[in-house]
């Protein structure tokens, strides 16, 4: 198979429908998924998750590719993977992950900077911090730039309203009732899930673990987590639609 030309490879797969051959094709082109996933790093989603989305898009693309279209597979699959990644960001990632991630990164930067200073007696550069924290330099600089972000859970310490936090200071309006209604609907929808599904939701959306870490804790494959997550989201979406309509 390794020596087969791209065209004949896909023609052979179309003819035979051989899953083993499909898997080999996917492996041959996985580097494209990795390459594109890397380009989307730094938007608040871990590389593992991006790679998973890109690899799934690649798998679907192998089945959809028509070798007689006159384009190379790489040209065909790149926009497909890009589109899937953009949909992934649009659907669920930014609002959930970014603010907390930036806050966590800022805190890690402060700790690491102190450590480097105590080791070397010098203030670290963004490059040094990026290497130590295994993130990009841009993420370090952007997180530092994002100063002044205040957590709504942070206690207000002005001597007047002890025990209050910023969240309590936000004036309520009518939309708060809508939010309560939506939260009730969401809680009802979550109750329809199995224990395993609820566990996954807790890992992925409350603790914000990556798919890889969730898989490790649940003792299943990352692919299984990915499939299950899609299934759960679909189920929740349908249940929510139903309960909001009632």
């Amino acid at each position: 198979m390794r020596d087969m030309e791209e065209r004949e490879l896909f023609a052979e797969y179309k003819r035979s429908g051989d899953v083993a051959l499909r898997n080999e094709i996917v492996e041959r082109y996985l580097y494209i998924a990795a390459m594109i996933a890397k380009k989307f790093v730094g938007r608040g989603v871990e590389y593992d998750d991006l790679y998973q989305v890109a690899a799934l898009a690649l798998m679907k693309g192998v089945d959809r590719f028509d070798e007689n279209m006159g384009v190379k597979f790489s040209t065909f699959i790149t926009p497909t993977i890009t589109g899937e990644l953009k949909n992934y960001f649009r659907d669920r990632s930014r609002l959930i992950h970014l603010p907390r991630r930036v806050a966590e990164l800022r805190s890690s930067i402060r700790k690491e900077a102190d450590e480097i200073f105590s080791e070397t007696g010098k203030s670290p550069t963004a490059k040094q911090l990026a290497e130590r924290l295994n993130v990009t330099e841009e993420e370090v600089v952007s997180a530092m730039e994002a100063g002044g972000v205040v957590s709504l859970d942070q206690p207000i310490d002005n001597g007047e309203r002890e025990g209050s936090n910023f969240y309590e200071m936000i004036p309520a309006d009518n939309s708060a009732f809508d939010e309560i209604e939506q939260r009730d609907a969401l809680e009802s929808a979550v109750r329809t899930l199995s224990d395993e599904e609820r566990q996954l939701i807790a890992y992925r959306f409350q603790q914000e673990l990556s798919q890889a870490e969730t898989a490790r804790r649940m003792n299943v494959s990352q692919m299984y987590v990915s499939r299950m997550e899609r299934k759960i989201l679909q189920k929740l979406r349908e249940n929510l639609k139903k309960s909001m309509a009632d």
């Binding site: 380009k39 890009t82 953009k86």
Partner: protein, 119 residues
């Protein structure tokens, strides 16, 4: 069309973080959404990497526009290009996937790429 900023710099991978940060700032000035800004940063760096792979050692990057952000990147000071057609194909496909009006052409001594966001 109003010129917002023009930058000339050595075309090296080390410069990409700085360029991404500058681009992010300009996107913010131009009123682009967060998603558009992220895409714009990706397109700018990918375009510059394309010029780098084609063998250019210097680049000039211009940001201009009214209502939308127009970006032009030109490569200059050509040296021998590294041959990596496969990577170049993926780069071009990615750029076309992210912006509808991406163009690449040969102008004078060097290649140039242009595209716009917003508007």
């Amino acid at each position: 069309m109003q010129n917002i900023m023009t930058l000339e710099f050595p075309l090296k991978r080390d410069m990409m973080t700085t360029i991404r940060l500058v681009t992010g700032g300009i996107c913010s000035l131009a009123g682009l959404s967060l998603d558009e800004s992220e895409d714009c940063k990706l397109v700018v760096t990918e375009g510059l990497l394309l010029l780098l792979r084609r063998g250019y050692t210097k680049a000039c990057l211009s940001f201009s526009g009214e209502g939308k952000l127009c970006i032009l990147a030109r490569g200059s000071d050509y040296e021998a290009a590294a041959e990596d057609r496969a990577e170049e194909e993926i780069s071009i496909a990615l750029l076309n996937a992210l912006v509808k009006n991406f163009t690449m052409k040969r102008e004078g001594d060097g290649d140039s790429i242009s595209f716009s966001f917003g508007g």
